[in-house]
Subunit: 340 residues, 2 copies
């Protein structure tokens, strides 16, 4: 199809706010008109769309670090696309760009909101992963909050997810003993055999996670990078060493909670062990993003870190790909490819 014939775009809207676990009725696929380009704007053809657990938070009305999605309005997320029409000074047709955009086949956006990517430096999907939000989240959370030192023990929950597998590799680069917690034998095998984790725990098949942790962390736990929360986190926290650091990156076990969960009170332990717990989002490091991206790109180039992508095809399958994050479908980064 000629670009001038592209008049409409499919787009995914938030149909209604989910109570508990979202399902297909949370989303609505509609067709909308594509507006005319104004000066400075480009038309972007979506190529890859990122689905991320944090988006569940934005589906609720509650105040959080990101504005809630509005019912009847498009979902937005990380997208890599190609400029197919330009009225912008610094972007030409054929350029690859990334930004947080509507979940749509096409977006019209001002060039100021886009970051150009060089497809020769790394595969374009890395802009949504190792060199994008998940990679930077792993980098700053582990290094700035976790402060891992050589010989220390780092435990990661959600270790085979997009962020977790990068965290583990960076921790290995820093000379740490790395223990991953994940939920399938495929994930466990990947972490152990492909990424060289020192120990792995399948939380779905391990009867007593606390005992298993104690067995594989004979020197206790110095850094805990938490993507999950809940009972896994309970088990880890009570085995942390003096001056240990807990990085709260995700709490996927709780994103669909409809009431406040109850758990063991660990603050007395936090006190007697001088433990630090810190929640964060990558946006807290806005002024250091380029520093992080540069180091991650270097590691990637040198083959010091690797990654896995789980790709489904078709915008219409994006909602189910998102729901799959809560089923634990994905090994590594979940992406949606948009074909044109």
């Amino acid at each position: 199809m000629e670009v001038d014939d592209i008049k409409t775009s499919k787009v995914v809207l938030l149909s209604k706010r989910p109570k508990g676990l979202p399902d297909s009725s949370t989303f609505q696929l509609v067709e909308r008109d594509i507006p005319e380009l104004k000066d400075g704007e480009v038309l972007i053809q979506s190529l890859y769309l990122s689905v991320d657990p944090y988006m569940r938070g934005r589906m609720s009305a509650a105040k959080s670090y990101a504005e809630p999605f509005q019912v009847g309005e498009p979902l937005t997320g990380g997208i890599v696309g190609k400029v197919v029409k330009s009225k912008a000074a610094n972007l030409a047709e054929g350029d690859y760009v990334t930004a947080r955009l509507d979940w749509a086949e096409y977006n019209v956006v001002h060039e100021n909101k886009l970051r150009k990517i060089n497809p020769e430096l790394a595969p374009i999907t890395t802009a949504l992963y190792v060199l994008g939000m998940p990679g930077l989240t792993a980098y700053f959370g582990l290094l700035d909050i976790g402060q891992p030192k050589k010989g220390e023990t780092v435990v990661i929950s959600g270790a085979a997810g997009a962020v977790g597998m990068i965290v583990g590799q960076i921790a290995k680069l820093k000379g740490c003993r790395v223990v991953g917690i994940a939920g399938s034998e495929e994930k466990i095998a990947y972490l152990k055999n492909k990424l060289g984790f020192d120990a792995v725990i399948n939380y779905k098949t391990t009867e007593n996670i606390s005992e298993e942790l104690a067995a594989v962390c004979p020197d206790g736990i110095d850094v805990y990078y938490d993507n999950v929360g809940g009972t896994i986190t309970d088990a880890v926290i009570f085995q942390m060493n003096f001056h240990a650091r807990v990085v709260i990156c995700g709490q996927i076990a709780h994103y669909n909670d409809t009431k406040m969960g109850m758990g063991p009170r660990f603050l007395p332990y936090v006190l007697t062990r001088s433990i630090l717990i810190k929640g964060f989002i990558v946006g807290n490091y806005a002024d250091r993003i380029e520093e992080g991206r540069k180091e991650l790109a270097e590691w990637l180039k040198q083959g010091k870190i690797t990654y896995e992508e789980n790709i489904v095809t078709g915008l219409e399958n994006a909602p189910d790909a998102f729901l799959g994050l809560f089923r634990g479908d994905n090994l590594g980064k979940q992406l949606v490819r948009i074909e044109h």
Copy 2:
């Protein structure tokens, strides 16, 4: 009595490890021989003895930041005393000293373990309070972890205790809105009228602490200095602002727990608000103690901070004074005076 006639000393032993709340059977008062002085040692006559909530932890066998007390052995704690006999090069009879010593009328100690205090600079009891462990705990916890900024809201639990009332005054010096939580009308009146706290909450008479907190913290809570834990802390944490800091100094609500308490899971909230939680003990700041003591002494001298002491008399009453900490008896620092 001539000093050479002093052959024995009363001392308080840990009689048995308490299960739950300690009582009088936890302690045993005995008489022991005073050993001969060796070179470098002095004989110290105890004048004031400090009772502190953290000592409860040392009565249990569990590993913590301080070594457990041993059953049948003396309790130890902060003591201010006078040198009555010296074989030490740098301490003479009549000198005032402080250290962590046995709960006894007399101690024989090497001079290296003692800090000499100048009774002309400040009352000698301040060595156990504002210029000692509790004052330094307030200072470093609030300033280093809490990082209060002008105009921010600081909430303090156990606000009328030894540490809490110093924290509140330092926070006022830093230009913060200060809200204290305490457990009696006498304490509430003191914090409000004498120390100028901006708002106070009596947790024993307030029906809904969350609602009251919301009313007196219209801009949310930026720093929470926690001496207490439990349901008070639950109420505070869920009203904390983005990038708020929680200083875990004490958890007196839990020191006598015989099983793990359960409470609301707040880590999802810690995540979405980028909250920091940090447990600490003053010993973490060992290399900055003199810096803290100097600034506290300056504030004290200038009348910028004041304090209250609650004093009982007699070593035999030290156990009950300690138990009173858990009854909430004390406004300010609880001390025991030893008369000779």
